[in-house]
């Protein structure tokens, strides 16, 4: 039974949620505001919040100096490609772990996760040398593969959790009706796990979009995504905070919009099975 909640308590909870939400969102808001300031106003002390002459000059400069479309396209291909490829590899893996577990399944899951504990820079040279030999440096294909591998443990874990929620009897009924393994995964399991797969897709797309170690270290001019676009506006000798903010806003805008429209799926997917 749901606990009775007084109106007063509701109001306090709502206010607290808003405060926490605003606190988390504030750095992004500040970045967006700064992107509309001149460089002089951007560094003003005390800082100016809203009362300044809004300008689009920074966006104009950034668009003039950088090929935004190319960076954006690279980000879409790299993040999208690695996520889709990851799902294709992870669905069968998660299926076998969820429905045909062995004595070592838990160990394998933990071992997979342990690869996330290694600092990325520790394997920079081996991966760089492999990329040189395979001719994959500064290529979108190379980054798709690397980011897929990096996010694979998370994808497998998430899908495994969702698959565990699906009653094995349904799959068995399918088998009795003569469904092959392929049919079982494609026509029975996948449709039932769509909310889970959707949230896994979204979360991994966001992770791949924001990944900034490999995307900076394995690209140069051709395959560089939006992370490199932002990095190109940071300066050791010069105040370009407003332009940096404009570049950051342009880099996060697509993913922010995507997140906004899909927040329902994200939240439902992430809390899936939480109240078992």
């Amino acid at each position: 039974m749901a606990r009775a909640v007084t109106n007063q308590r509701k109001a306090i909870n709502t206010a607290a949620a808003w405060i926490v939400g605003l606190l988390i969102f504030f750095p992004i808001l500040w970045t967006i505001l700064t992107s509309f300031k001149t460089e002089a106003v951007a560094i003003a002390d005390p800082p100016v919040f809203l009362g300044f002459d809004w300008t689009l000059e920074n966006y104009r400069t950034v668009l003039e100096r950088s090929n935004y479309a190319r960076f954006l396209w690279n980000s879409i291909i790299i993040a999208g490609g690695s996520t889709v490829l990851g799902i294709i590899v992870a669905v069968p893996a998660a299926w076998s772990m969820a429905f045909v577990p062995s004595n070592r399944t838990k160990d394998i899951l933990l071992w997979m996760l342990s690869t996330k504990m290694l600092p990325a820079v520790g394997v920079l040279y081996p991966i760089y040398l492999i990329f040189i030999n395979l001719g994959l440096l500064d290529s979108r294909l190379g980054l798709v593969v690397v980011l897929m591998l990096i996010n694979l443990p998370i994808i497998v874990w998430m899908l495994y959790t969702y698959f565990k929620e699906i009653p094995v009897d349904i799959l068995e009924a399918g088998r009795m009706d003569g469904a092959s393994l392929k049919d079982e995964i494609i026509y029975i399991l996948t449709p039932m796990a769509i909310p889970g797969i959707a949230s896994t897709l979204l979360l991994n797309f966001i992770l791949a979009w924001n990944e900034a170690f490999w995307t900076l270290n394995l690209t140069a001019a051709k395959a560089a995504p939006l992370t490199a676009f932002i990095a190109s506006y940071s300066s050791p000798e010069g105040l370009f905070y407003a332009k940096l903010s404009a570049a950051s806003t342009m880099a996060i805008a697509p993913i922010l919009i995507l997140g906004w429209f899909s927040q329902k799926q994200l939240v439902s997917g992430l809390t899936f099975g939480a109240v078992k």
Binding site: I43, Y128, S235
Partner: protein, 435 residues
Amino acid sequence: MNLTNALFAASALVSVAATAATADTITIATVNNGDMVRMQGYTDDFTAKTGHEVEWVTLEENVLRQRVTTDITAKGGQFDIMTIGMYETPIWGANGWLVPLDDLSEDYDADDILPAMAAGLSHDGTLYAAPFYGESSMIMYRTDLMEKAGLEMPKAPTWEFIREAAAAMDDDANDINGICLRGKAGWGEGGAIITVTANSFGARWFDEDWTPQFDQPEWKEALTFFTNLMNDYGPAGYATNGFNENLSLFQQGKCGMWIDATVAASFVTNPDDSTVADKVGFALAPNHEGVEKRANWLWAWALAIPAGTQNEAAAKQFIEWATSKDYIELVAAKEGWANVPPGARTSLYENPNYQEVPFAQTTLDSILAADPNNPTVEPVPYVGVQFVAIPEFAGLASQVSQEFSAVYAGQQSVDEALEKAQAIAMEEMEAAGYR
């Protein structure tokens, strides 16, 4: 199609094919400093002259270092030109990682490169990187506040005068700090200013046997002086201020004095960004009374070609274009003499138009006063003024400067920091086999 048209078409095809055969696309890794941004804007001029296209990869300074180091050591061949500094050049040149620039054309006039810059960018007398712009450190001060304080800035002041002036200009009621200096951890940030301050007190990083010298009285005197000066007259939270933070403070009129890179002079005198553009004076970096060395560093952002590039000829053409006298003239014609890349060529300082720029002479004097082979009073086994040109320095100096920043933040005493610095340096030098 008649015969003439056919001939035209054929000749056009031949010329396109010929251009395609000789025109390359070169990839250049660089940082987002004002002069580099300007250079990117003039790339069309280079393409028009040579037919070569240019792809720019602009990265944050530390990412750039890591990125180009990985690529050069693994022979990735991602870049045809790299923007590197005076610290990396001699080390990488010695390792055979860079293409020697000893066959630049006569028109280029390599002898015109300022001798201090050429020396710092060479190994065994061979130039490995061409300076795009060079810098030293100098004092930038507010002429109006100095006048109000009833003082006159000498051309070459002492630290003792700087302290007196900082005390006189410090004005808490009007939010003006007597002096702004870098305190931020990092060998290229706070590490640079404290090292040149130490030089000007007669301290040194190592003696001739590579024994760290942080246990010597000169270091204690320098660090104590610096900390007291900043605690008394510096901005709050200076332990995290680097170049950009101090530039911001100075431009908003919150610093009486600022000792930092000479390249900042064009920023603080630019009325578009600086509220004090017409009230800035310049002087040589200070020395401690009785010590002949001053707190001026020497640095260059330079262009180098990694060994193994497929486009060496085109890369050399680019370097000759970007660091040439003609490029300086091009920028001067379009944006004025105050905006040309400074500190690289002798002829720039002989140019009467440039001599009218208010900070030109002090910049040149500051560069000339820095000697990478004799950075401090006593002899040292290393090259470099605000750094020590050995591969271990970047890691070591970052740790040491973290200890110093902890002093500025009030987290430990000068003695504690120097004791730790000595232990860190001793361990590092022994591990690396210098001792």
